[in-house]
């Protein structure tokens, strides 16, 4: 082998040579195209028959605010149900117990495999099959009075969400290195302690982006509840435009609120992600392959 030489630049480059970045032609071209499209859309909207004053008048109308609030409430509650069901479902799907595994798989199959709207209508019309609901030792109730739009909505959205969350949590749990469970067991942790203290915190970090995604889908999916007359955002603007026929204006009001709520949620998500990721953030390994 040749003897080692001192590493240095070729002779024709002196120390003052500048390193020029690669030209970014694509960037300028794409900017021009996008600006042109935006300009075209802007002109179209400006010339279109939209009463912006109507949009402005209704954006903070009490009925609309109540609808936006109801959308947030039903989404958060349904997500809470979905998270609980999802956690249980994921543990069942990963269990050694074949009965639990099969049950959870069937749950995921049925509730992911049928349209959310159909599930919602079935819950809402449950009284047609079971006119009364009897809880042994508690009493019997008229199904119609129990199955309010809100209850039907919670069941429809929450149970459906649980099926998706089952798969997201399962992915999170599988994603935790197998050595973690082994190390926890070697310390003498019971399966429950190992899951709670070692596996779950790491699984949640993996599951967070998928969970956030589900929440955004759920937030918008809650507009389906307008079918069962739950006064969420879409139904509350529909009540107004059925009276004044300003359909597009009020749909734009709803659009603005959906965007705003989602925006706030993304901020919250970033905060949670930063907190859960504090142990890995300090290393730059995430950036390395994202750069």
């Amino acid at each position: 082998m040749a003897r080692a030489t001192v590493v240095g630049g070729p002779a024709d480059l002196d120390d003052s040579s500048l390193v020029l970045p690669r030209p970014r032609i694509g960037r300028y071209l794409s900017a021009i195209v996008i600006l042109a499209v935006l300009a075209f859309l802007g002109v179209a909207v400006a010339r279109g028959n939209i009463g912006w004053d109507v949009v402005g008048r209704y954006i903070y109308a009490p009925g609309v605010l109540q609808g936006a609030l109801n959308t947030v409430i039903i989404s958060v509650l349904s997500m809470a149900i979905g998270i609980v069901l999802g956690l249980v479902g994921a543990l069942m799907r990963l269990s050694d117990n074949v009965v639990a595994r099969t049950t959870a798989s069937a749950y995921v199959w049925v509730f992911r495999g049928t349209p959310q709207l159909v599930q919602l209508l079935l819950w809402y019309n449950l009284a047609l099959i079971f006119p009364t609901i009897v809880i042994p030792g508690v009493g019997s109730y008229d199904t119609n009075s129990l199955m309010t739009p809100m209850v039907a909505g919670l069941l429809g959205l929450g149970i459906n969400e649980g099926a998706y969350m089952t798969e997201i949590f399962r992915g999170g749990i599988i994603g935790v290195d197998a050595g973690q469970a082994r190390a926890a067991r070697a310390l003498g942790m019971t399966p429950f302690t190992a899951f709670r203290r070692v596996i779950l915190p790491q699984a949640l970090r993996i599951a967070l982006p998928g969970t956030s995604n589900q929440f955004v889908i759920l937030l918008k999916g809650s507009s389906l509840l307008s079918i069962v007359q739950y006064t969420e955002l879409l139904y509350s603007v529909k009540i107004i435009y059925d009276r004044n026929y300003a359909v597009v204006e009020l749909l734009l009001v709803a659009t603005a609120w959906y965007i705003a709520i989602t925006g706030v949620f993304i901020l919250i998500q970033n905060l949670i992600e930063r907190r859960l990721g504090r142990s890995v953030r300090t290393t730059s390994n995430r950036r390395m392959w994202l750069a």
Binding site: D177, G179, Q180, R182, A183, A184, R185, A186, L187, G188, M189, T190, P191, T193, R197, V198, P201, Q202, R205, R278, S279, V280, T282, T283, N285
Partner: protein, 259 residues
């Protein structure tokens, strides 16, 4: 759990057999380690060394034979002539007194070095926080990491992580420490710091079973070396005998490849 006096057998494995499907991994292993002894297990990859270690604290179950630690079965209860496997909950209780250190460190990445060392006392023994912290700080100091207590595993070198892992196992005040190739995943320049900690531990009288490829360490520290191949212990004895005057041809072949 342990009634054994120094010099008395602490770990006794007899006729241990285990297979994964049709693949026989342990084929009648016999191994005795006395209290206060350091036993090194050497042998080629796939010889069953790591599996044996994991059977000792019942991370893996066995198909036949018995393993006793401090006179008690780990993970099993005698049922007439047979052994019945305990529930994972009960097995966890039996594992508390057996520390284990892995090739891949397996620190908990979401906890700081200090929290890792506190995890056993806190979550298993349910000791109060301040008591666990005092003990953990002392242990981290003893492995030379007093200045890294608030670091997360990702911020530590491999050698530092492995030393935290040793401290984490010691926090449970084990009667026995199992080391599964503790330096195999380390950069060569980091091996020394981990072996130094292990050497100190051995000098303090800890009973240790060390699966290793570090023959020099084995020669220096081990009271007894067992050579495993094909799922059995083929030869064992004091280091000078096994390493310098091996009897079994497979031991000879292994040693010439390694030195």
């Amino acid at each position: 759990m342990t009634s054994a006096e120094p010099g008395e057998p602490l770990v006794v494995a007899t006729g241990v057999r285990k297979s994964y499907g049709s693949n026989l991994v342990l084929d009648g292993v016999n191994l005795t380690v006395n209290r206060g002894e350091v036993a090194c297990v050497i042998g080629p990859s796939g010889s069953g060394k790591s599996t044996l270690l994991r059977c000792i604290n019942h991370l893996e179950n066995i198909d036949a034979g018995t393993i006793r630690v401090g006179g008690e079965l780990v993970g099993y209860r005698r049922r007439g002539r047979a052994l019945r496997e305990l529930s994972e909950r009960d097995a966890a209780r039996a594992r508390r007194h057996i520390g284990m250190v892995f090739q891949s460190f397996d620190l908990f990445p979401h906890l700081t070095a200090l929290e890792n060392v506190m995890s056993g006392p806190r979550f298993v023994l349910r000791r109060p926080v301040d008591q666990s912290r005092t003990q953990a700080l002392a242990l981290l100091d003893s492995v030379g990491l007093a200045d890294r207590t608030q670091h997360y595993p990702a911020q530590l070198s491999g050698g530092q992580q492995q030393r935290v892992a040793i401290a984490r196992a010691l926090a449970m005040q084990p009667a026995l420490m199992l080391f599964d190739e503790p330096t195999s995943a380390l950069d060569p320049e980091l091996v020394g710091e981990v072996l130094d900690v292990m050497r100190d531990l051995a000098n303090s009288g800890m009973t240790m079973i060390v699966v290793t490829h570090e023959l020099r360490f084995a020669q220096d520290v081990a009271d007894r070396i067992s050579f495993m191949d094909g799922g059995t212990v083929l030869e064992e004895g004091p280091p000078e005998q096994v390493l310098t005057a091996p009897q079994h041809p497979r031991t000879k072949a292994f040693l010439t490849r390694y030195t």
